[in-house]
């Protein structure tokens, strides 16, 4: 399985949670303990190794803050 590396432009994250909901391997969550400049809880990964680089998170992100890299 290809391994994905996610990078987030957290300052532009609005904590909408769409990526969290649609990630097929359920490795994303909104970190309630940290906020960005705009006061939104930002997106974090639980287990980076499980990322299968499907890019569904990036597809669903309304603010295009997610970049997905893959080394296959």
């Amino acid at each position: 399985m290809p391994k994905g590396i996610l990078t987030f432009e957290t300052e532009k994250c609005k904590g909408c949670g769409l990526c969290v909901a649609f990630c097929p391997v359920k490795i994303l969550y909104l970190d309630k303990s940290t906020m960005n400049q705009s006061g939104y809880n930002i997106i974090k990964i639980t287990d980076p190794d499980k990322c299968i680089a499907c890019a569904t998170c990036a597809l669903m992100c309304p603010d295009s803050i997610i970049t997905v890299e893959v080394n296959n």
């Binding site: 909408c16 769409l18 990036a58 597809l59 992100c61 309304p62």
Partner: protein
């Protein structure tokens, strides 16, 4: 390391002004990616309407003209008739297109203007704080239908794509939604087809996108996308209404 997915160059760096989880952002991305992939960013003129997406002229990385409320298709006509080899598209919400601007939109289609219309149907007026739109569903509570839309008081949701499918000038017309990854991918395919038909000078193309408005619907962004699927699509079925390229459905 290969890039599997990154932000398109079709969008500027200006942060989007939309509420968290609003699907305007998704549709902006699909349009911007399409223009980039077709290699026409430098040949495109966007016509921004009035509504939440009025600021789209800040977000699409193309030349843009901000049109008066409802008049985007007339402005697009003025641009396209004089620049027939450029790509011209309007980006309009249901208030702008289905209410105040319905005449301009219908007649642009009827004149077979070679433009693409991105029609965002989210059953509400977002920018002004949640009023009823022509596409609001029966029973839907809004700030101007506070006990729910009633057919004999407020009329019924208007079916734009169905209406436009009767117009000969229309070359491609599809209603899509962005309520889940599969629908988002399908929406992009539809948008790409619409712009491709414009490049081939086939006529008027329009994609109606069932979209969410979490804040004014009073839902979380995820629930809002579910609401599209469960409540909107039964009223606004997703299908290709017209496809000149595909002769069999004429």
């Amino acid at each position: 390391m290969d890039i599997k997915y990154k932000k398109t160059n079709g969008l500027t760096d200006t942060p989007l002004s939309y509420c968290p989880g609003c699907s305007h952002g998704i549709v902006h991305k699909l349009v911007a990616e399409t223009l980039e992939e077709l290699g026409v960013l430098g040949e495109t003129i966007a016509i921004a309407s009035v509504g939440c997406s009025v600021f789209s002229y800040k977000f699409f990385n193309v030349d843009a003209v901000q049109a008066a409320h409802g008049r985007a298709c007339a402005v697009a006509t003025g641009v396209k008739r004089n620049l027939p080899d450029r790509i011209v598209f309007t980006y309009q919400g249901d208030g702008d297109l289905a209410s105040i601007g319905i005449a301009e939109t219908i007649h642009a289609a009827n004149r077979k203007e070679n433009i693409t219309v991105i029609f965002i149907n989210n059953c509400i007026y977002g920018m002004t704080g949640g009023q009823m739109a022509p596409t609001s569903l029966i029973g839907q509570k809004t700030t101007t239908s506070q006990t729910g839309r009633k057919s004999d008081v407020h009329g019924n949701p208007i079916h734009i794509s169905e209406m436009f499918s009767q117009i000969e000038g229309v070359a491609y017309l599809e209603r899509v939604s962005v309520c889940n990854p599969r629908q988002v991918r399908n929406a992009k395919k539809a948008i790409k087809k619409a712009f491709t038909y414009q490049m081939e000078k086939k006529g008027f193309t329009m994609i109606e996108v069932l979209s969410s408005c979490p804040v004014n619907w009073g839902m979380t962004p995820v629930d809002a996308l579910k609401w599209i699927e469960e409540k909107m699509t039964p009223v606004f079925p997703l299908k290709v209404f017209k496809d000149l390229g595909d002769e069999k459905n004429v």
